[in-house]
Amino acid sequence: MGNFILPFLLIALFVYAAIKKIRIYDGFIEGIKDALKLVYSIFPYLAAIFIMVGLFRLSGLSAFLTKILEKPLALFGIPSELTELILLRPFSGNGSILLLEDIYAKYAADSYIARAASVVVGSSDTAFYIAAVYFAESKIIKLRYAVPAALAANFIGCVSACLLCRVL
């Protein structure tokens, strides 16, 4: 059922546009030009973050920080198996998906750890990446308290995820 929604919406849109005498092909060209410009302005930020995350993970620094953070995070009810995931989540979408798959393989997909990890990933987003991408084109460089606020909010999401999966 859900599979039909998107094609149906697109057909409805294009037919509606055609009735309104809008040139769809020209519209596509304009939109794709926008897309190229957008990616062009985002790319430097993207590459810088990817290089930083690569160094962070492969140097073992992220594993080391995970060890340090395990105990304080346990005070908030976060199991130590999820520490690395929560640490990496704000930096790297791909990285956290890989970690999530590792957790599924290690603890079985229906275990408490796997469910909590799923909700941690599902209910949060990559704050640093979004900060870089959202503010890139507008050339805003002073983000003020934006990133700390997002990290704090996502942390509250993680804590509630670990709690909710115990009872639901």
Partner: protein, 203 residues
């Protein structure tokens, strides 16, 4: 961001210099390659969604979506211009429909068209609010995660849906409150500073 970047790269590089100096350049180039792969994927996804968006704009449907979300948007974002509000509404629509690929370009356009503050390079409270709400994920149905769980052999992969919706709401709500509180405190601070300056002038 600059301080964070400096600390993480320098400490990581220091560790690698001791542990595996030969791997440094390879790791950094792999990072760039990862960015390039993602950029190619993004170009493909945005080409489709921004093309569709252009058609939506030309038909005037975006104005209808905007008026639908107007009460919510006006409550969250004070004194924002029409263009920005329209992109914010469409970003929300895309998020709620689970179209992450469409939500990001719309989000970038929203920030780009928002009113600037006194300092044009500084993020306004509305921009911060919009970013924080997006960074806490408005996507109530985590399609990717459910698909991954199913692939890993889960008996009921979508049983995380209810905790996920509650946790998403909790983090977005927390983000909203944090931004409101911090911006409130900063406003008060500015007001008292202004008053102090006035008093000083009088003296």
């Amino acid at each position: 961001m600059n301080a964070l970047f400096l600390i993480i790269t320098v400490v990581s590089l220091a560790v690698l210099t001791v542990a595996a100096p030969d791997s440094v350049l390879g790791i950094m180039i792999d990072g760039g390659k990862g960015a390039l792969d993602l950029a190619l994927k993004m170009t493909a996804i945005y080409s489709v969604w921004l093309a569709v968006l252009k058609i939506v704009e030309k038909t005037g449907l975006d104005k209808k979506i905007t008026s639908l979300f107007d009460p919510v948007v006006n409550f969250i974002y004070k004194d924002e211009n029409k263009t920005a509000k329209s992109f914010i509404s469409m970003n929300m629509t895309a998020n709620l429909l689970g179209m992450g690929g469409a939500a990001t370009p719309l989000g970038i356009k929203a920030v780009n068209s928002m009113n600037r503050g006194a300092d044009a390079l500084s993020a306004t409270t509305n921009m911060i609010m919009f970013f924080v709400i997006n960074a806490t994920s408005l996507q109530f149905i985590p399609a990717t995660v459910i698909a991954l769980r199913a692939a890993a052999g889960s008996v009921s992969p979508s049983d995380i849906l209810i905790p996920n919706i509650i946790a998403s709401t909790a983090s977005a709500g927390a983000g909203f409150l944090i931004v409101r509180i911090v911006s409130g405190i900063q406003k008060k601070k500015n007001n008292t500073e202004l008053k102090i300056q006035e008093i000083k002038k009088i003296i």
